[in-house]
């Protein structure tokens, strides 16, 4: 499993997760999750962009 925001390896046991278009995504941190939820398409199309700044 890969965090779609920062590209880090994450396990399915991560509590930071969400579902988008019927597929589960897992994150390394709440920051990545929040960033993804704001604009999922850009990460899915453009790939991971590293840790988001600011929260």
């Amino acid at each position: 499993m890969m965090d779609p925001v920062c590209g880090m390896e994450v396990k399915e046991t991560s509590t930071y997760r969400t579902m988008y278009k019927g597929k589960m995504y897992y994150f390394c941190s709440p920051h990545c999750k929040t960033a993804f939820e704001k604009d999922p398409e850009s990460y899915l199309k453009g790939g991971p962009r590293g840790m988001p700044h600011g929260h």
């Binding site: 997760r17 969400t18 579902m19 988008y20 278009k21 019927g22 589960m24 709440p30 999750k33 999922p40």
Partner: protein, 742 residues
């Protein structure tokens, strides 16, 4: 070795210090304890007479020795028991005993099998020590138990009695008789002042005892010299009355202190009748015991009603003065009173696990507080006594040399100055007010765990309230639902049966049939799983929108195979009285509701109460919110002490709303029984802080007025030393009494 390892562990002990009666004593004892190697921290409280010590490596024995070397004593309890132990083992037993928490000294005589253990009654008991020993394979039979030292109040009262009986007789104007009569007063009744002064001077500090001792001895010695050589004037009567008046003040003060601190503690030990008729001390009760409680009696420990019914006053726990009806199966709290009826109670918690023991534990911690303003009082009292001695000497010199008054008059003035000044009020100002304030709160079911929060509450600008459980009952119900795909509600209900979330439970309760669920996953805002092979997602509108076709309209919606198949509207009833409380709070604070719930229901509540709303927050978001708000001023977070623990800690004051009786598990500085107690907490904390300031101001003014009068400022009106002493005694008494008016 096991014992060595345990020595390095951090341990906290609380000791009852005897002989402290002024602010400087507090400093001396703190210094003495802190000076022991292996003591990490020491906090001494003058009003309660307690010292909290954090040990890291040091043994309790070393701390007690240090306190005794500094001239004070520690209240210890002692028991003598018998044990069968060999000569070689006896040293090891002493080692084990002294390693047990709360044990100070242990002596074992292998020949007679006699064991003498002195322990700290504040943190342990003979039963606990016995149990601990048994765990390690030693059986000990306890012979007798007695308090090593009697109370401070009793000692003072005895001395006062001597002073009060003899002092008036010293007014008979026969110098030799006056001399004889004054001896027991000055040297027996007043002895504690002389030893106190000696102790202070030896430790290179000064205290109130120095003033009393100097003034009474100066008056007495001068009178003796006068009687033998000068024949100029005697004031044996002044010396005697001075001692007596100050003793009267000190006795009254000790009485007030003892009464205040015993009020709650007395609940710890009551007589309990077991089901078999045996009457035991409540501290000896165990989980599983069944006790009988008759009308008017105190329920001795926590448990559930096994038989009978009655009305119980639970105000110590809920703040609610009206008795509550209890029938079989209802929980009861130790320390509450059965006002009518008869109960047979099966105990579920006893000893230190009971609610009231936890309250007492929390209060002890809270009372050891130092509020910043006390720092000012401490600085004053450190220079106070030397300054007063200086003023006394200057006044003496001025009257004798500049004003050409007689030696007798000048000595009298100096004695009056010494006797009039009292540093005690400064030391009592904070602890007395905090102690009274905390107890007033307790009567409303509010438990203060951190005394500093009383002052911090005064600086709070924003109140952040949790919704579920705090504002609402926390019992979410599905008010109504609509189904667009047949069977969607049943599928949602099956899926939610695996969820622990309150919303999930509400939806799960809609249907009793259960389908096979695979791949159950919980996430923020919803749950997903394959139910009977179909993709089912139940969640908040934002989650549903991202995954399903169709428009979600409810607070929560269900998707079946990625199509919106049903909507649920939720409700959670507002708790009683919340509306009025929030209305009152809104006038003085910025009130924000912070909730994890993102349903429309949260909006409805917020708009109904007319406050700001931050919804859909994770516990981390709540912490972040508190952090941001703190930049604008003090923040108090009111919430569930378990789920909101982090936010409670982040806030300036964390207020946990009790949902059970296990205080220890709540985070936060204060535990309140319900949101409706909040206005009282805010008012009371304000009153307590104001009281501290008043006390300090009062102590200052008192001295600022009395000392110049004693120095002869209003000449020809002069203050005789005994009246100056009466004034001094009344200073600390008035601070103690004034603290009650909160």
């Amino acid at each position: 070795m096991g014992t060595d390892q345990s020595l390095r562990l951090k341990k906290e002990e609380e000791l009852k210090i005897l002989g402290m009666h002024c602010a400087t004593c507090e400093v001396t004892v703190t210094k003495a304890i802190s000076g022991v190697k292996g003591v990490q921290d020491a906090k001494v409280n003058l009003a309660s007479g307690n010292a909290r010590v954090i040990l890291q490596g040091a043994r309790l024995k070393e701390v007690v020795d240090a306190v005794r070397r500094a001239g004070y004593d520690v209240a210890l309890q002692k028991f003598t028991g018998r044990v069968r132990v060999s000569e070689e083992e006896s040293h090891r037993l002493v080692d084990i005993l002294e390693g047990i928490e709360g044990v100070v000294y242990a002596r074992v005589n292998p020949t007679s099998g006699l064991v003498i253990v002195e322990y700290n009654p504040v943190t342990t008991s003979s039963e606990k020590i016995q149990q601990e020993l048994e765990r390690r394979g030693y059986r000990i039979e306890i012979k007798e138990e007695k308090l090593s030292r009697s109370s401070d109040f009793k000692d003072l009262a005895l001395r006062l009695l001597v002073g009060a009986v003899i002092s008036p007789l010293t007014l008979i104007n026969i110098p030799l008789l006056q001399l004889i009569l004054s001896i027991p007063v000055v040297f027996f009744a007043g002895m504690r002042f002389h030893t106190g002064a000696y102790r202070a001077l030896r430790n290179r500090t000064t205290n109130m005892d120095v003033l009393v001792s100097f003034s009474s001895l100066t008056a007495w010695i001068y009178s003796v010299i006068s009687l033998l050589f000068l024949h100029s004037g005697y004031f044996f009567d002044s010396a005697s009355l001075l001692v007596t008046f100050i003793l009267a003040g000190k006795t009254l003060e000790a009485y007030i202190k003892e009464r205040t601190s015993s009020e709650v503690v007395s609940l710890q030990s009551v007589k309990a009748t077991k089901a078999n008729g045996e009457v035991v001390d409540s501290r000896k009760l165990k989980v599983g015991d069944v006790v009988l409680v008759r009308a008017g009696e105190v329920i001795p420990a926590d448990g559930v009603v096994d038989e009978g019914e009655g009305y119980v006053n639970e105000s110590i726990y809920t703040g609610e003065p009206l008795p509550v009806k209890k029938v079989k199966g209802d929980p009861v709290i130790g320390g509450s009173t059965l006002t009518s009826g008869f109960l047979k109670v099966y105990l579920t918690r006893a000893g230190e696990r009971t609610y009231i023991s936890q309250v007492i534990e929390a209060l002890r911690e809270a009372e050891a507080v130092r509020i910043p303003i006390q720092g000012l009082a401490d600085r004053i009292s450190a220079v106070f006594v030397p300054t007063i001695i200086g003023i006394a000497l200057i006044s003496f010199a001025l009257w004798l040399y500049a004003m050409h008054e007689t030696l007798t008059f000048s000595v009298l003035i100096a004695v009056a100055v010494l006797a009039s000044a009292c540093p005690c009020g400064f030391g009592l100002a904070t602890p007395m007010a905090v102690m009274v304030g905390i107890r007033k709160l307790l009567r409303k079911g509010i438990v203060v765990k951190n005394g500093e929060s009383l002052e911090k509450l005064g600086k709070v600008k924003t109140l952040v309230l949790d919704k579920t459980g705090t504002i609402t009952r926390g019992e979410i119900v599905v008010e109504r639902f609509q189904e667009y795909i047949q069977g969607a509600v049943e599928l949602a209900s099956s899926l939610e049966k695996l969820s622990g979330h309150p919303v999930g439970k509400a939806i799960a309760s809609l249907s009793s049939s259960s389908h096979r669920v695979e791949g159950f996953t919980e996430m923020d805002g919803g749950v997903y799983g394959k139910v009977d092979g179909q993709d089912v997602l139940v969640g908040r509108p934002d989650l549903v929108k991202k995954n399903c076709e169709g428009e979600p309209r409810g607070d929560v919606s269900v998707c079946v195979n990625w199509k919106v198949g049903g909507d649920f509207w939720l409700n959670d009833q507002m708790r009683e009285g919340v509306r009025e409380v929030v209305e009152e709070l809104r006038t003085r604070f910025r009130v924000i509701i912070a909730t994890g719930d993102s349903s429309m229901y949260a909006d409805r509540i917020a708009s109904e109460l007319g406050v700001e709303l931050r919804k859909g927050l994770t516990p981390e978001d709540k912490v972040e919110l508190v952090r941001q708000l703190r930049e604008e001023g003090g923040v108090a977070f009111v919430g569930d002490g378990i789920n909101d623990a982090q936010a409670l800690k982040e806030a300036d004051v964390g207020i946990a709303v009790a949902t059970g009786t296990d205080i220890a598990k709540y985070a936060g500085d204060v535990v309140i029984p319900s949101l409706t107690a909040l206005p009282f907490l805010l008012r009371q904390s304000h009153r307590t802080v104001r009281k501290i300031k008043e006390n300090i101001a009062w102590a200052l003014t008192y001295n600022a007025v009395l000392v110049p009068i004693a120095a002869g400022m209003l000449y020809p009106l002069v203050l005789p030393p005994e009246y100056a002493a009466l004034g001094m005694a009344m200073n600390s008494v008035s601070v103690a009494l004034w603290s009650f008016v909160q």
